[in-house]
Amino acid sequence: MLVLGTAYAQTVNIEVWHSLGESFGAPEFEAIANRFNDVQDEIVVEVVYAGGYTDALQRAQAAAAAGNLPNVAMFEQTRGAGFVDAGNVLALNSYLENDPEANTDDLFERLLSTCTYGDTLYCMPYNNSTPLLYYNGDLFREVGLDPETDAPTTWEELHDVAAKFAQEENGQLTRWGIGLATSPGWLMDAYLGQAGGRFLNEAGDEFVFDGEAGVATFNYWLQLIEDKAAIASSSQTEDFFSGRQAMMMASTANLVNYFDTATFDLHAAQLPCNVECYAPIGGGNFYIMDVGDQAEHDASWEFMKWILSPENAAEFAAATGYMAPRPSALETPTLVEAFASLPEARITYDQMASHGYSRTLVPFWNEVHNAYGIATEEVLLAGIPPEEALSVAAQEANRLLDVYAR
């Protein structure tokens, strides 16, 4: 009785929210988390699927207001900032510095940058990704290109290659090179960065995406559409996999799935470069929320270390296409084997290590994204000049910067 009582008293329960869908590694993550409950008996982890990134964000916003946030939460790259800003998140610096098991040196620095605000680290990179250029090898050969050597590496090549696929029927493209999303999400970071621009200036006190690089990006897109190299599309995945669209920029997160399901000769490559090479780092990270007592914080940290162990990180990465955050994970038999059977799984690591960049970490990012999306629609669908559309969007972004500076 006494022994049982003590054992019970020592158990710490923590709740973990994740946003991984069925095809984004949910089964693997849950298996890894449940194994944690089996290998030790001081901490009991309850894993909860909080819905996709958007649902999970709203759920967490409501939980923050109601004061019942979970111990550990996964947020999409751009959606943790609001909780950091509100003081809901625990800084992890002391854990990283004082816990020898943290193996700080064994973490990709560029992935850590997605969790870094000034000098403070607020999360641990978990299911990180970058966009890749997927392309249809069969279609490449059909238009006389060699899929092994002719993948476009610059904007110019992307334009020229994409233009080769144009096929028309009654004035409408029935096959085309690449799609441009009117709600471009992280690809707007990619193009803007490749054009040499950034959303925020270096000091972080002004949005500058309406500058030269922003305009150049829109003009490039308009050029692609005019030359029938691209169409504005909201159904790229289905168009790509049904063979209407030859190339698609999409996350490495689905790599394994894509290669499993593609009915044609699927290839993948790094994103093309322009003024510079630039790949935004997407996906999600795990945050320890500032709830509960020290024991719960420590237990949460133990759980973080568990899922980030080289073996566990490798298992998750191999099953999905997401990047394991530890370089040492790449040496594990699991990932060595995975790379051997699907070499494309390595592309994202090379891309990230050389030019992967954190997204913009502001609490009101969703609204900046909306404003930029509207500007994209105005330019692509309504013929409004890029300068004008971007300036309106930047004004809204800068207004919010002021609002949040209060």
């Binding site: 709203q58 916003q61 609001g82 509100a86 809901n88 669908l381």
Partner: protein, 314 residues
Amino acid sequence: MVDARAGRRGKLSAPGRRSTAAGRKRRTALTAYLLLLPAFAVLFTFQFLPAFEVIRLSLTDRLLLRPDSNFIGLDNFVRLWNDPRFWNSVRNTIYFVGVSVPIQTGLALVFAIALARRFRGVQFIRTVFFLPVVASLVAVSVVWDWIFHPRIGLLNEVLGWFGIPMQSWLQDPVLAMPSIILLVVWSGTGYYMVIYLAGVLDIPGEYYEAARIDGANRWQLFRNITWPMLAPVTYLILILQMINSFQVFTTVYVMTGGGPVRRTEVVVFYLYQRAFDSLEFGYASAISVALFAFLIILTIFQQQFIGRRVSYDR
């Protein structure tokens, strides 16, 4: 329970006495209030209290995740007045309401009259018309997403048979709102049809019989019996529709996200974006208060100008 018994005892002991009658009335009233209490408690906690809180928030610069906020008076309302995006959303909402309400009401009436007759399979057809109402909006949206799909969608396929070129319905700035309206009409009409149906079936058959004996034709039957007899129902439907339509949200949220180029950004969707994207909760509350005030005024207006003409006499 206790009150009911007391009431009966009062009746038995002193029939016809005035003071007791008043007492009985009082006790009946008390019973009524007690019976209302649970519902009122729920409504108060989950409807009225939040509504008051929204009014308070609308006077602050509250940001959703930041716990601190300042009282800023009517600043949010001044900003609202000068916010072109708000007025754009008002225009979009009026467009939506102005087109969808007459179509839904008209169709609901036509279907109700058609299905008020008795014929084989009428129950089945009534159910079919009502089905979209009970279907989950998300499931409905998935289906309509496919119907509206620019390349593999049903709508373009069917229009293609008549040589009409492909349209990208939801991505087209001009066609997006009509597409939303089409979906809403499809999914909402059944509900109002059922209300109308009850109204039509409620009209005593003798009126029609008498009119027919006098030689009235079908239009005259409708014009002089059905339509005026349905006036209270029409009035109810109009009020319900106005209140529902001005608050249209889910369809827009799921189908277009307010786009393209903000052409389907209706008031409630704009409110949502302010609350959950820029997280300006104070400002979002101000939009909500403005919408509330507008709907109250609209309902009073309807009561004054339409409600007064409605006859409930039989």
